[in-house]
Amino acid sequence: MIRIKSIHIEEFRGIRDLTLDLGGKNFGICGPNGTGKSGVVDAIEFCLTGNVTRLSGQGQGELSVKGHAPHVDHRANPDMAKVTITAAVPSLGKDVTITRSVKTPRAVTIVPADPKIQTIIGELQSHPEFALSRREIAKYIITPPAQRSTDVQTLLRLDRIGELRKALLSYANKCKRDAGEAERAQASAETELKTALNIPTLDRKKVLEKANVHRSVLGLPALTELIPQTSFMEGAQEEGKDAKKTVVAKDVALADLTTLSTAIHSGEPDDLKVHRESALASLKKLKEDEKALSLARAHGFITAGLEFVTEDSCPLCDKPWDADELRAHLQAKLLSAEKIGTLLEKIGNANDAIIGVLGDRAAGIRKAAGYAAALDPVVSRAELDAYTKVLGDAITALKTFEDDHSMIEGAIAVLEVKWWEVPEDAQTRLDETEKGIKALPDRSAKDKAIELLAVLQDRYERLLVAGKTAKSMTARNATAQHVYDRYNTVSNTVLEGIYDAVAKEFTEFYKAINDDEGMFVGELKAELAKLSFNVDFYGRGTFPPGAYHSEGHQDGMGLCLYLALMKHTLADKFTFAVLDDVLMSVDTGHRREVCRLLKTNFPNTQFVLTTHDRVWLQYMKTEGLIRKGQFFGGWNIDTGPRIWDDKDIWAEIQEALDKDDVPRAAALLRRYLEYISVVLADNLRAQVEYRGDSSYDLGDLLPPTLNRWKDRLEKGIKSAEHWGHGDAQAALEEKLAEAKILITKSNAEQWAINKSVHFNEWENFMKTEFKEVADAFKALLDHIRCQNEECGGYPYLTPRKGSSEQLRCSCGAININLKTK
């Protein structure tokens, strides 16, 4: 992944010409609604992926990147709309420039054209989830379980796991069908051999007995064993060399036709009827449900409809309805995926049995057609071939349905037709064929024996081949089923592990930003084709997030789930994310915790955060989440966003002093100290006099906060002494001494007793006097904050309630033990 150093945007969305210097660090963009913040987010997404979700996502049918990504004045000149990102690729230690124009959104220019860099950009393209808007949070939280399953699986690239599972299942199903077909072919070959020998059951002894009867007619020695190499014709070739050749062995042919005729006249076999009726009923049920499911898939119609069935009338036309009845009706239409799976298996089993019988019938008719054509004069086989084709088509229709369940109509048609009833014209041909065979002259005993041994040999060899094929297909099927079962078990176990890990991570994240919910727990439970997400509600049980939690909490959950998922998806590649207005509804009490969460749990991820709330941006800076930001102060169609620099407060104060504007410098310092006093008072749990109107001025907040700072350092010294940590004690004593000097210099403790140093008087100070005040506060605040350049945050007490145990900062560089027990 990458870290963005700068971005240059031209004629893109609402932006005319804008360059932002992110420096590869976290970056905040702040401005009122409609000032172009999201345009920057769109530009980043576009440059890295060639797409803008906002223009191409669900429900954006009329919008397109090419048509609507250029600035409105350049709709006809998409080549003018382009975005260039300069980024660092930490894993390669290289920089890259990525440029993309709306004219050719799929073409990206990457400089240098290093294949490794191209691979990384390619990966970004396949992970557009690096950009998360507030609107998209909903998809993780209040989406239906089936849709969540799809979204989460797509995000985690779990769809690949499912696709491989489907491929292995498809292969296993094919092997099962092939094995079934091979078994049926073997059974059919057995039947043919039994028919030729006129024996009810096939065993080696009887086969040999029958064959030896015919061999004895020819004066040939009896065969003593039946092995694959057995030749029933051994020695018969010599005997038969003078025999008149015939193409139809009369007795065998009559036996074959008798078997066929018996099957035809017995109508639909009972067991087949059971299978056919069962399959037909199931297919019709599936067909009805498929309609309902397609509606649900296309429009979320039924699911959405169910949500609206809460009143006594339709919310659109006010037509009264019976809510209970309508709800039951809609729910009945939603056949669960699990039920569909069971149903398909049932249909598959019934179809296999039907295909077997259809195959036997087709083989019998084909054989009869062969006899018909071999007679002299010939009997027309066309009608028999036509019937064979009908049977073949029926087999194909059932097999097609097994491969593609949308081909349901063909399968239903097969099951509704009485294919076992032979068409009249075909029956006529069968009768003529039988008559023709019966009319054949009887052969001599020797010739008959040769004919029968030849048929026997042929059918025996076919049975051997069919048996070998069936054995191999059975073994192949067993392997395929075994492999599929193993993959299924392994993938389910791994997925459950991933979901558990994500849920655990989510829970930790959520608890980190809501420490008042210590017992909170989140659960991700995967069921067939859906992923349920339930969260604890104050120990009263677990429910879907939308059930009881406030919108603010739901947003927090969405962010936490997103972060947990991204961490598991990208692991150490999660180095970049854009959070567009995602933090908007996080309430004030949890903002710093969110900043700390992002900062401490994702130290290697560059976040670009947009907000319309200046205070939020300030929190991000105070907590050290961002160092730089950009204010968007307005927008118009001709110039795009109006921006100004987010200056460092001390630089701004100095700027005012350089212009001899002490009142402005004083106002800036006072406003900043008021803000920072609130942060510090909260962080240090300062003992401030309570005011019902929450109207605290600097004098109310800062002195008790600074006292608290000294008090906590003293507490830390006592703790270090108690535990015998001499070095820590010495360091804290030094820190306390420094604190006392700096606080004295700031005069904050004197405000109440010496009006001339009161902050209300700062605007009347001389420039040099005020400079001393400003420098004193800067030194004091620098003294309190973490000295680690990467952190720079203000320390805070943990836990937030009860006896404080630790004074620490986000990075842990400040970590003062306060416990003495």
């Binding site: 696709e163 392997t479 492999v483 193993r486």
Partner: protein, 66 residues
């Protein structure tokens, strides 16, 4: 079935395939060489076709045997 793009395999899929090949190796019903061939096939980043799976899972006759 969705088109399986020729992309690098995800960490989640890698985890599944790593466990899968370990399970197959400890499975007496699956030949180790077949397990390795199947593993290599599934890691190609493409959806395997039936013929590919047949080739991977079938045990070729050993040399010297008919």
């Amino acid at each position: 079935m969705a088109e399986f793009k020729n992309e690098p395999i995800s960490p989640a899929l890698k985890k599944v395939l790593d466990e899968f090949v370990t399970v197959l190796h400890s499975d007496e019903e699956i030949d180790n060489e077949a397990a390795d061939r199947l593993d290599a096939l599934l890691r190609k980043g493409k959806l395997p076709k039936h013929d590919d799976l047949d080739a991977a899972l079938s045990t070729p006759p050993k040399e010297g045997k008919p």
